[in-house]
Amino acid sequence: MAREDVGIILGGPQGAGVETSMMVLTRALARRGFGVIADREYFSNITGRHSYIHMLVSSRAIPRSLRYPVEIIASMDAETLFTHIDDVANGGYIVYDSGVASKRLEEIVSMEDITRVRVLEKLKKNGVASTVASVLKFLERDRDVKAIGLNFADLLRRLMNRYRIEVSSLSRYVSGIIVSAVAVLLGLDVEAIKYSLSIQFSSRRNIVEQNLELFKYVEESLQSYRNSIALEKPKHNFRKLMIVTGNDVVAMGKIVGGLRYQSYYPITPAADESFAIEKYEHLRAEKDIGSIVVIQTEDEISAICSAIGASLAGARSATVTSGPGFDLMVEGISWAGANEVPIVVTYYQRGGPSTGQPTRGSQSDLFNAIFAGHGEFARVVITSGDHVEAFYDSIEAFNIAERFQVPVIHLLDKFLANSIRTIPPPDLDSVKIVRGSISSGGKEYKRFDLGYIVSPRAFIGVDDTVMWYSGDEHDEYGHIVEDPENRVSMYSKRIKKLDLIASEVSRDMKLQVYGDRDLDYIIIGWGSVKGVVLDALELLYRKGFRGCYINVKLLWPFPSREVVEVLSKTDRDRIIAIEHSYNVQIADLVALSTSIKIEKKIAKFTGRPITLNELVDALQKLLTSETTHVVLTYGA
């Protein structure tokens, strides 16, 4: 029977090509119309530590969440098999290198000791010896798993002999074995793989050919497994799908939204976005469109300050960072607030405090984004629930910044940044560029004209116009003034923007409500938990629980009125807040802004994404018992 979706893990040492395998597979699957979502988990390490891709292939164009267990584990090494021992489904498949069968857990030096001890205990409890072979035997017996050993060395030797490949470059083909094996299990045809390979290795035709040959070898060895896990026909009729990470999609949104200056200082998981943009520095399509200056600055302070400078001159400008870098930017954001400068900071959260877990995800910087900066001033914080939202929000971030002349923080996270999704190309007819109130200046120009809350903005460089800016309190011209009455009017003018924003930003940009209108329970959250919550709602609906999800998008100024409206549709004790943090800060933000106290919380702060299986369990527990707080921990 064909399935709606298939979960897959591709595992191997960092740097060995796990990511390439994912890309090749994903593109081939997209070619045939399947949707893919894939999370990438890796250590803060360049080569050697265990990394893996956790993916879901689906007949939906955009699958929304990941779940355990998975139907296929494809491993490049022994470590994957030990680490993911609990992750394979009953009746699932494990593809492995038969050459590592005798490898013992104790020999795996790349594994952290603490993990090794935990896995050993697990094995001991089940009476399993600590070798790959015994683990696989255990899984075959206990969970009806089919372990498919491929002799990697043999396959590679055949390839080497045929193409006279250097021994030293053979390891590059291991990813090809993994891809081929998964493709065969899924029944994916060679033409789709060929299409994908020729894009992946566009400039190296011989590598495409060699990988196709490898595919043939693997296919021969796995004849009897072809199509063992068949997928349903895709349920959509998109003629095109994009394959994008969160970084990519934000880069695209910014470019479409008119970005002309992007500054950054390297930091995970933000830097890839700037790399993606840099490819388009000379922006053209049938005609020259403009130049985008992408600059790697000496630090984050320079990144924010130079972006503000570019904005003063009239360019839509942005900078991008994560927690530690944002902390350095705060003084600049306060300056932008004082000087009413439109500026966008794309803030990808990762695990803190400090350099905490540099390559893992979190949503623990909500308050940092909302409250960072000394003094009071208007700033906007928006967030996106998935890749599609992130595209449009990247454009809207500029629009909001310019309409209200405020700093806008677009708060995202590593899960979104590094995960891949297949999404349809955006609908650009629905996109609008709104530059707000622009002045052409003139002799009498006053940059901070008190006749307005948002004074018409002239760009530095406009003819016959001179203006001043100062971080000190200033008069309408921008000159320093300490007069108490001016202080009151200028200070209030800036802060009143928050009311203006609250009344003028569209409801859709403030929050979205998904699910039943007739409610048993409400979940409230923000950012990348959206997909998994929506899938959980659907599953629970089938079990008789009718709920809805409030996907908060405007985090500041908080849409209190709109949130209260929804929250009042159910009892207080049927409201659940969810977040990748310890404190579930969104609950505090709701309390602060609406005085509704949310008791029930789901938190995850392992740095790994929330998976459907654990979320459904947690929700059920919260809905059927007195439990108020669940901490999720699933994932390697």
Binding site: G290, S291, A310, L312, V431, G461, D472, H479
Partner: protein, 316 residues
């Protein structure tokens, strides 16, 4: 253009006799002589007594954060390379908190002029030791003698890559004016260390002190700081660095080094983005009438085709 037009009518809140007045006068006179268009000229400053200068001059003024004038200036200049951008800051501002940016500007060689108001102290915070105050010096506001070494701004600028490096003296107006003029006309990152007596807090580096010691480099006819061809660069740099360590009985002012053989950052960008000057970030349009992005659906697919997969039948 008439002299008044470059001065605002604001009250100048520097202490009477402060060296900053001399710098203000020199800069304004250069603007007059060059007839700079105030709307195309920008003064960017940090925080400190000296950094209040933009408010007194009738060109665009951006008074920023302590130490951060250079990055602000960089963003303005790179977004609109037509603008003439001049940075003012104190020694604390540019060489203490802002030292990283100071070095980075030299490496990039962006066409910006940096004017250091070097008074040996942190003026606005009441006289603490700045990075240019020598070890063991005890100015009157200090409780104890200075425990940190001074750095050499000229040598730092030279080794950071500034392609125009000079020193002026706040009360030698004519000389300073000529240097500022050269710096503004220079294509690339220009740095001027201006000796600026702080009459309130620095009782060592006073006008009296400088009057006895200062001499002009150009008075020696064999002094030629200009790099004419790249091969001369090292030797000229070494000479300039050596000269920059002359400090004591005799203090040189004038141009230490000028190199026009190094590409500016703007030229480097132009190599990569051919349309950079005609369609600079601030000058290229981002939307059509009615607010549609200049990137429509068709252009989107062309630009981002690497990300797009054409879906073709299923294998079922």
């Amino acid at each position: 253009m008439e002299r008044r037009s470059y001065r605002t009518d604001l009250w100048i809140d520097w202490c009477p006799g402060c060296g900053n007045f001399g710098i203000l006068t020199a800069v304004v006179r250069v603007f007059e002589e060059l007839g700079l268009d105030p709307s195309k000229t920008v003064i960017v400053s940090g925080i400190g007594c000296s950094s209040k200068i933009p408010h007194f001059i009738n060109v665009n003024g951006v008074h920023t954060l302590h130490g951060r004038a250079i990055p602000f200036a960089m963003g303005i200049k790179l977004a609109n390379p037509e603008l003439i951008v001049i940075v003012h800051g104190g020694d604390g501002d540019l060489l203490g908190i802002g030292a990283g940016h100071f070095v980075a500007l030299g490496r990039r060689n962006i066409d910006v002029t940096v004017i250091l108001h070097n008074n040996g102290v942190y003026g606005l915070t009441k006289g603490q030791a700045s990075p240019t105050l020598p070890l063991n010096a005890k100015t009157k506001a200090l409780v104890k003698p200075n425990i940190q070494q001074a750095l050499n701004p000229i040598a730092l600028a030279l080794s950071s890559g500034y392609t125009f490096v000079a020193r002026g003296y706040a009360f030698d107006g004519e000389h300073l004016k000529n240097i500022v003029k050269k710096a503004i006309l220079h294509k690339g990152a220009a740095f001027i260390d201006v000796l600026q007596p702080c009459v309130t807090f620095n009782d060592i580096f006073t006008a009296e002190y400088y009057r006895k010691r200062i001499y002009r480099l150009e008075d020696n006819s064999s002094w030629n700081p200009i790099v004419e061809k790249p091969e001369d660069r090292t030797i000229k740099l070494l000479k300039a660095i050596e000269k920059s360590f002359e400090w004591g009985d005799r203090i040189p002012i004038g141009v230490f080094y000028q190199d026009t053989t190094v590409s500016t950052f703007e030229e480097r960008i132009l190599q990569r983005i051919k349309i950079y000057l005609e369609m600079s970030p601030a000058k290229s349009s981002i939307a059509e009438d009615g607010g549609r992005s200049v990137i429509d659906g068709k252009r989107f697919e062309e630009i981002f085709r690497d990300y797009i997969v054409d879906v073709e039948g299923t294998q079922q």
